[in-house]
Symmetry: C2
């Protein structure tokens, strides 16, 4: 019974995600689904990325959280439009939630829409939101074994940001092992090693992201 | 429809959890449900705790993981009996899984049974396994806002271990704020500040745990 319902819910989600993708494509907005464990640094990376790109492109954000709007408040301080989704305990965003939340934001015709998912390395990986890119953050102090223990989210990632590289000297994190593990399950994914705290690697990440936004946005100019 | 099914599933879980609790109580075994985000250090804390206590008490472990037995292999090296539960993608353990897994372990009449849950700060909090103590690990590099952003797991915790205190000088982690936030939502919970890496705080935690085990185990002697 549980399986049947999940299949049906996932089926409905796929339909809405497909609809979202069509809308995003018609508008030429690049949409990122940003996922990670709690505390990997999604919001801080997003703050720093917005700060670097907001003079060049128009950015909008959907913040997914269980109950609070703490992250939305942080992002609003960057001067971009934010819509908060409180899932009231549900452990992931789904395409329907994003469909509702994005309407107001799309009216402003943004170039980039970032959807920051609920902090959870398991459930969000199963739900297509209609995004162009799945970005997964993993942080150095989380350790070496996360890729093999939580494979789905990394298998489906288009880009992986390894954050908190400033803590590398104080941990046993093995960069080569993590690169190898990612290579085995998802050799095509792009990897950036960054520190949201000291800014290392954010230039490379932001430049790459800007390229993706421009590629998607070409439809706007046509 | 979704709500109804969840209610029913949770109802069934409560019944099995109640049954587990009766069995654990009759045997005088203390059962801990160990929860955290991926990478907070549950397994390392468990390794170090077993190493400190295994000469004084008999310990058994249930390892919950999505697909791998990496953590079970680590725990087995400590010389204690381990049963692996692979949830095949499900984001939490439930009482039924624990009921099956514990049968072989209880035959050995352990004093302590630790159930290491799937790495996830959201879903495991909702499922009673029949445990005596809910222990939640949070680590310093995860940041200051986890208590307010993921309240349920901390509200229901009997004991909270703040791990990776060795990284405190290199982060913005605010010990006083986290203590205050825990105090607001769960003033009765016990808090230990530890470093599984350098051993700080593990003596206090292990001594406290031993007291709980002895208190529960008195039923064995009667």
């Amino acid at each position: 019974m549980k399986v049947k319902l999940e299949t049906r819910l996932l089926g409905a989600n796929e339909l809405i995600a497909h609809n979202n993708r069509t809308i995003f494509s018609n508008q030429g907005v690049l949409v990122i689904n940003l996922m990670s464990s709690p505390g990997s640094g999604k919001t801080t990376i997003l703050e720093k990325t917005i700060s670097r790109l907001k003079d060049q492109i128009k950015i909008a954000v959907i913040e997914g959280d269980l109950y609070t709007d703490q992250d939305a408040q942080r992002i609003e301080q960057q001067g971009v439009k934010v819509v908060q989704i409180n899932t009231e305990g549900t452990c992931h965003l789904d395409a329907g939630m994003v469909s509702h939340a994005c309407q107001e934001l799309l009216a402003d015709n943004p170039d980039l829409l970032v959807v920051e998912n609920v902090g959870n390395l398991v459930c969000p990986a199963e739900f297509d939101l209609g995004e162009d890119l799945r970005a997964v953050v993993i942080s150095v102090p989380e350790g070496n074994d996360k890729i093999t223990k939580y494979p789905l989210v990394f298998q489906r990632a288009d880009v992986i940001l390894v954050n908190k590289m400033d803590l590398l000297p104080f941990t046993d994190f093995d960069v080569a092992r993590v690169q190898k593990d990612i290579g085995l399950i998802n050799p095509k994914t792009k990897i950036f090693f960054v520190s949201a705290r000291n800014g290392d690697g954010l230039e490379e990440w932001s430049s790459w992201l800007l390229e993706q936004i421009h590629a998607k946005g070409r439809t706007k100019l046509m």
